[in-house]
Amino acid sequence: MKSVRVGAGLGFYGDSWRPVRASIERGGVRYIASDHLSELTLAILQKDRQKDPAAGYARDGLPMLAELWPLAAKHGVKFILNAGGLNPQGAREAIARTFRDKGWKATIATVSGDSVLERLDELRAAGEPLAHMDTGAGLDTVRSRLLFANAYLGAQPIVRALEQGADIVLTGRVADAALSLAPLVHELGWRWDDWDKLALGLTVGHLLECSGQGSGGNFGSAAEWADIPDYAHLGYPIAEVSEDGKALFTKAPGTGGRISFDTLRQQLLYEVHNPHAYFSPDVVLDMGTLQFDDQGGDRVRVTGASGAARPAKLKIVGGYHDGWMGAGIIGFSWPQAYAKCEKAAETIKTLVAERGWPVEETNVEYIGYNSLLGAQADPTYRDQLNECFLRMTIRTQDRKVADAYGRLFPWLGLSGPPYVGSLKGVQSAKELLGIWPALAQRELVEAKVEIAVEKV
């Protein structure tokens, strides 16, 4: 029976591609599916593009390929990556330039057409209100502040690129799991209405899309996290999928991390809402019928996926400017570390009030006490902390105020409560982004999707 191995690439913009080498060298993979775009990465890329029209793509795609391509070419491994961001053509040009310089040959495809920022009027004229999916708020409340708006495309355009012989497929926004689902459909010949097989493919994509989090990284547990072998050489997950819709999860031999029922099921439910209706552009998955057979030795069989027909609408996510954040930080030691932080916070608040700055919201948190846990922090040992850092942040519409806020803090070093240290440097204003999820008819979006294939 025909089968194919797909390996995880990156799980976010800035993730490491070093573990991908082991998957190519000794993991038997034919494809690497690499996710470079978090929900709001496109906001970063939009700013890059505003400064330079040739930019706007994830900048880690090129160095990853530059390092891995000779090995990948030797092993016949193809890459599917969404590092095209807002400018897949720009990404292709940059990669093609490097490949020509080095004398490497490859067929590089781009998938574009996911950006709808310039098409909002057209979509609304066609009857899409583009209201906020969760709150129902109207688009006009944020329209002028939108930095990007992109549809999540499915696996179909990637499959068309593979059919045209692409070795490297560069996409913009696509559903993360589509990066893995596409090579499965392409290699195994699955039909686009074979919902159970597509659902298994979606399961595979979802389990691969967060790189090391699918193979023992970030394993939330009381003590077992400490038994995960060799974090330093953690291997990214690999799925071997057969044409009858069954998967075997594993990782390259000799790598760290762990593939087990426990590590995989943690990733399966990660950032999922209703597990009986996990939406993607290509199929809707019911996780309630999946069966995991942990065979030991970092091998787990996954079968039993149930799929329902794909949704009529595609998800769009926009990001909009939502003010500026000013931030300051300062640390105090025992004794009364927490009380010193509190006094410093009170002092900063007085300084801000006296300046009459237009602050909309102030956040006070104590690193070492409640910066991760917030209101859930247990106050039992609060007053016995060895040391504690105060971090304060504000939301303001005035960028200058956000910049000035951080500069209030160093003064406290000599003129505030007795202190030991601060994190070095003054923090400058940071743009805050709101997220705008909406829905649009698939046909309206897909009509503009383009695939371009070029031999280098």
Binding site: D134, Q267, M287, G374
Partner: protein
Amino acid sequence: MRVPLWRIAHARSGDKADRADIGLFAWDAPTYAVLKREVTPERVAAHFRELCQGPVELWPLDNLLALKIVLNRALQGGAARSLRMEIEAPADLPRLRAS
């Protein structure tokens, strides 16, 4: 007998827009039966009352020995507009006690 969840289960939390989500996993079937009985949307909502402004949804998954829990309106509108350093408060679920 009362026992904190972290002693008998494992968990991973995540976020999407203004929603925090938690997967809670039993190590074995008998413990899963306890989780399914004891970890109710009402108790989760009470534990996160400071954090979660919307309803708590919960799905038991017998095939995974797991509960999928979603806290709606729990992230001040979403991670990227939040002033907090980290939005990881759902990591605290394991401190909830089951009896």
